[in-house]
Symmetry: C2
Subunit: 292 residues, 2 copies
Amino acid sequence: MDIIAIITEKKKLFEDYLHDYLAGINAVSGIFDAFSYSLSAGGKRIRPILTMLACETLGGSSIQALPAGLAIEMIHTFSLIHDDLPALDNDGLRRGMPTCHKRFGEATAILAGDALIFQALSVISSSGYPEKVETDILRVIADVCGIDGLVQGEYLDVMAEGKDLTLDEIADIYRKKTSRLFELCMYSGARIATDDTQKIHAFMQYGAFLGLAFQAIDDILDITSTDEVLGKTSGKDQIQGKATVIKALGLENARLWAGQMTNEATRSIAQISDKRSNVLEELAQWMAQRVM
Amino acid sequence: MDIIAIITEKKKLFEDYLHDYLAGINAVSGIFDAFSYSLSAGGKRIRPILTMLACETLGGSSIQALPAGLAIEMIHTFSLIHDDLPALDNDGLRRGMPTCHKRFGEATAILAGDALIFQALSVISSSGYPEKVETDILRVIADVCGIDGLVQGEYLDVMAEGKDLTLDEIADIYRKKTSRLFELCMYSGARIATDDTQKIHAFMQYGAFLGLAFQAIDDILDITSTDEVLGKTSGKDQIQGKATVIKALGLENARLWAGQMTNEATRSIAQISDKRSNVLEELAQWMAQRVM
């Protein structure tokens, strides 16, 4: 099966799982409406796909990885909802649709983001994972999302606007706002399948580099693509003076940098190379060439 | 020892623990500054005190209960920070000091609230609780904080402004925005000490009623007290048209209602009455008479 077929299959698995999950929630709440809207708005679903592939590569199944993948997609969606708020990036368009606060108002969007974090915990908590796996995943969630991770990355990203940062500083923002959640995907998927810490560590390394490449490519596309293709406001980084590798290196060198990170990602898992881990290598190469 | 001495001792234990915890975090971040500010701003610390007392009453120690108590105080503080935001209650004064967004700006306050949730998980995750206890507490956190709990309570509270609600509807808001976190305190403290589900359930009932009484008294004090005594903007509920039991019942009947809830709280634990659980009864009576 080629990589696009594999991705399409995993994406479908995830969309069906999400659909069933939302249909099973018996809640009458504007918050539920708001976060369902944002969760269902599509997107690449790269995080649950990564989680599934990590799990499969180490001998587990995609099905086993779905609760972790859903929880991570919820955390990702929470961060998008809050990031789009007027006090932060002030973005009105996301995945081709009005952002959560544009559609439901600011108060509801703030609370919907908050609620998503707890729903993510709830999903992990009712996943049926062995207690040791559950507590391990919880520990990594707390680690990669807090003040040394996702939320700190959003903070640094907002604070960096209009400043000239070094490549190291920009890579640090990328690492926190993007890579750490990719690490969580790889950790969770791998941990569900195995307790081999060496393999898990290699997978997290892969996730870390893949996240850097992914964010660089996202920022490159912000410049080179259009609203219609991206489903969000393109060209905004430059207007807002965002810290991107393009700002530090120029467009062509930014492309090269993204390519290096992609190669580092595949190198991280080279030692555990077999037919299955080739899928992760192909995924990294495919992601490096994406146009949206 | 009388109840005030017990509360004072527990509060001191908690403040020392919080102080050491914050001193041990090695983070250079505006988010850390912001949430430390809000966490350190004092307050009654009723939630960690409840957690400690629940644990002690069932044979555990206050020390054991401190990580859970800290995590819950963090969740409480997250909810205050977000609740005070301009898009929600738009409050500028809290515990006698400028609210988080007034002091650090809105973007930082939103992210500091988010980060506190993950820090709370991190505290639970590194508590050293047995895995089964940790996963049980996690499950209840997810349950009481999300769309059937705290965050939904905040939502209903904001949406109820200016409307005439029935007593049942108001009690439902109180239950979600206040009682469910009190339930979590009682659950966590009890669960650390025992796996006797009957006792744990009775303790949660106590927490549920205590929370209703607590919120009613809070709302009564909003009318009958001053900014200086409360450390927050008094009289605001009426101006904002907040849903309170006073609005539904009038001041005198609201007092009676709070008294009934206090009695229900003590009744919930009457069957496990011994010298130690008397402390919880005294606590409920003391809380019913508080003036700030």
